[in-house]
């Protein structure tokens, strides 16, 4: 599903964010991306949804070489990839339903289908009863679930999450983890950047460790360190 060959990323200020990264993530895998802050986890994720292009090397997503993808086709790549950020990026001038519906509206989905899909995903994340609420009235965990709902409502092939449990207590975090496992079981490839040792150890999934921009270790059923 995702392959990187000799990927380097150097920022204009000469900082090397990634250094010779080679990786192969198969369809349906659940991968933790761990490492200290500033190690290059976020850059790694951005390369996958073409939030950035590598300075050197190839990134291939679902058979498409991203460096050769025309800018006008980037939106169609993004429709296959759901992204969840630590800082939520919700729209606080619309209610819960509309926040989720937003990602279907912008791709021109019919209203009847939007209603059906959004209600369905809100049921799964347990926020259906709050669908008319403004997101700023939700707890942190609920807002994070809402972000996940928005990212997966269009059934993407890949879900990228950047520290989704970063600001949450362990119990809520585990809730989020269970939700992500569920999405993974449906067939979505999930990559989760995290430095939440507790969650990573408990999950027993593949762990890719990035340190100073390089892949330091890559273990199946790994632990945080």
């Amino acid at each position: 599903m995702i392959r990187m060959f000799h990927v380097f990323k150097t920022f204009p200020n000469k900082i090397h964010a990634l250094w010779d990264v080679n990786i192969h993530i198969k369809k349906g895998e659940f991968v933790f991306l761990v490492g200290p802050t500033g190690a290059g986890k976020t850059t790694f994720l951005k390369l996958i949804y073409r939030g950035m292009l590598p300075s050197k090397g190839q990134v291939i997503v679902d058979g498409v070489n991203l460096a050769r993808l025309k800018t006008s086709l980037v939106p169609y790549l993004r429709r296959e990839i759901g992204v969840v950020f630590q800082d939520f990026k919700l729209l606080y001038d619309r209610n819960v339903f509309e926040n989720v519906a937003f990602s279907l509206r912008v791709v021109g989905t019919k209203n009847a289908i939007i209603r059906q899909e959004v209600n369905n995903i809100l049921n799964i994340i347990g926020l259906y009863h709050k669908k008319n609420t403004n997101p700023h009235l939700l707890s942190g965990g609920e807002q994070q679930k809402l972000c996940i709902a928005r990212a997966v409502v269009s059934h993407p092939l890949i879900l990228l999450t950047d520290e989704p449990t970063g600001n949450l207590d362990p119990e809520t975090s585990w809730d989020i983890m269970k939700l992500l496992f569920k999405i993974n079981i449906w067939g979505t490839t999930v990559i989760m950047a995290s430095h939440d040792k507790l969650m990573v150890d408990k999950a027993q999934k593949r762990v890719v460790r990035i340190e100073r921009g390089e892949v330091a270790s890559d273990t199946q059923k790994g632990i945080y360190s």
Partner: protein, 295 residues
Amino acid sequence: MLRNMFFYIKEAFLSTKKNGIMSFATIISLTATLIIVGMFLLISLNINLFLNEIESQLVAIAYLKDDISEEDINKLVQDTSELQGVKDVRYISKEEAFQRLREDLSEHEDMLAGIPENPLPASIEILVTETDFLEEIAFQLNQYKGIEEVNYGGQLTKNLILVFDFVRNTGLAIISLLIFISVLIMVSVIKISVHSRHEEIEIMSLVGATSWFIRWPFIIEGFLKGLFSSFLAVIVLIKGYLYYMEKIRIILPFLNISSDQIILIRIAVIIILSGVFIGIFGSMISLRKIRYEEL
């Protein structure tokens, strides 16, 4: 497509509401610009009318001596009509001239009561095609013995045309400058609007909206602002114009001021089209590039 259009319009209104004060400021400044543009259009329209009128009245008048014979008059008319730049020659007899005066003064007939006999000379009126010929024609006519004096408004007409041309050209320059400034205002307002919605734009681009899908609401926002401003401007202009036109008619009754509805409608259409153009064009340049990636 229709579903998307509905979404765009909704987003456009949402954004206008969200940036209420800025939207208000844009509409006001755009309206003001369009009013000034419209004022220049109206002034230049009336100058044109006036110029056409005086150009169609380029006349030299040769006053004849009282003792000139009919034969000489006929020869004079014949010779004059063969001069270069002459459109038409007409002989006005003493009686005809007096008749005309009487008609012009019909409201004050008592003024003529004390005049014992017709004091007016006979004359020939020469209609000239262009101001440039006036001088030469006058010179030629002065050679004839039977002519007392040749009168023509040549220099004055020339000067008037120069002045009006200057006013018209300056007006055009000012209009261009004003339109340029309003586009700049529109661009900065839409940029602020884009900035205030950067989160929505970011999310849109993340969930796979095409760049045109992101642009449309802003273009509609610009269009609506342009349309609204130009309607306001048209209302102010037409109302103001009709009001002042009446006033000027009373003060300066000899001025021919246009109140032709078709021309006014045409100017209204020009204003509305410019407003819409400024709105859309301003949005387009502030959204030239939707960025999908960082460096």
